[in-house]
């Protein structure tokens, strides 16, 4: 009777041992999986964020192709916008409310910069920015463009590096 009990407890011990090892292995693989998944998902989230930003940037850039912006003197310049045309749109009554979907629409010079910020009829073209819409409270996205116009001193087209800045309300 006692011999039987001993054999039974030894078998139980072996099963316990095996169960512990299996549990240890499962926990180990669980930790590894959690680590792996968290690394994978964190990069996925940032990738999605990057893709969304790139899509918005492309949309902002598309704006330069609008007839109100585009530079028609050159066929092969997709990044060129007509600064004279944009400046003329400023404070134009017929364009009030035209860009209702955006909270900010601004074109600024990046290089070279002048001392004066906002363009007016008095300081144009020696100024840095033309603001077409500014409703406040927005998240802004910028896109590099070439600001082109006919320069009277050079008697030719002059292009300078600039940005189109668009602000959208409630973009997360």
């Amino acid at each position: 009777m006692s011999l039987l009990r001993v054999r039974y407890s030894k078998g139980q011990f072996k099963i316990q041992q095996m169960v512990f090892i299996i549990i240890a292995i499962i926990i180990l693989f669980g930790i590894v999986s959690v680590f792996f998944i968290s690394v994978k998902f964190s990069s996925l989230r940032s990738d999605v964020e990057d893709l969304r930003k790139e899509a918005v940037l492309t949309q902002v850039r598309k704006m330069t192709g609008a007839p109100e912006f585009n530079w028609i003197m050159s066929d092969d310049c997709s990044s060129c916008v007509d600064l004279d045309k944009i400046f003329l749109l400023k404070d134009r009554n017929s364009y009030k409310g035209f860009w209702n979907d955006v909270s900010l629409l601004k074109v600024s010079r990046v290089y070279p910069l002048y001392d004066i910020g906002e363009c007016t009829t008095q300081n144009y073209p020696r100024c840095n920015s033309v603001t077409l819409v500014n409703k406040g409270d927005f998240e802004a996205y910028e896109s590099f463009v070439s600001l082109c116009r006919f320069d009277d001193t050079l008697k030719q087209t002059k292009c300078e590096l600039g940005k189109v800045i668009m602000g959208f309300e409630g973009v997360e």
Binding site: L28, V145, C148
Partner: protein, 173 residues
């Protein structure tokens, strides 16, 4: 009998240790492979492409020929590569190209160890065959800061028969 039982116990401990060691080795190998996995170091950047494309249209102060026009940066880089002519004001076409591009980079990106971007690397190379994997012929390059880790980058082609001039830019966070 006692000796046999002890030996059996030792064997079990050795087996257990062996399993633990095998699992540990497998874990280390897995981590090693995972970390060595050649993930793309460069992230293609739309904003950088837009920057390079737009900066190539910048009108420079360089006029090469009498009664000629002020060249755009892409035309000046072509001039610098093919002829190396000097501008009418005496400046070298390559020097003006370098100064213009540097001015635009510095005005567009805040780059310093304290800022988000720690460095940049802009290379202007000529490739006879754009599909070839060699570095091409360097026209000029602009480097600032440290660009060893991950970076955002993009490149822009300027056709220059019979090959292409490729302006490639990297900015390192």
């Amino acid at each position: 009998m006692e000796k046999i039982r002890k030996k059996k116990g030792q064997e079990e401990i050795v087996g257990f240790v062996l399993i633990v060691v095998i699992i540990a080795i497998a874990f280390v190998v897995f981590l090693g492979i995972r970390l060595r996995n050649p993930e793309p170091v460069q992230k293609e950047s739309e904003i950088l492409y837009q920057f390079i494309e737009s900066s190539m249209e910048q009108t420079t102060d360089c006029v090469i020929r009498e009664n000629g026009k002020n060249l755009a940066l892409n035309e000046l880089i072509r001039e610098c590569h093919s002829f190396g002519n000097t501008c009418l004001n005496g400046e070298n076409s390559c020097d003006v190209s370098i100064a213009s591009l540097k001015g635009m980079i510095d005005a567009s990106w805040k780059i310093s160890p304290q800022d988000v971007y720690k460095g940049y690397e802009f290379k202007v190379n000529y490739y006879l065959n754009s599909s070839s994997e060699d570095d091409g012929e360097e026209i000029f390059s602009l480097v600032k800061g440290n660009c060893t880790s991950a970076y955002i980058g993009n490149s822009y082609f300027i056709p220059q028969f019979p090959g292409n001039i490729i302006v490639s830019g990297k900015i390192c966070p």
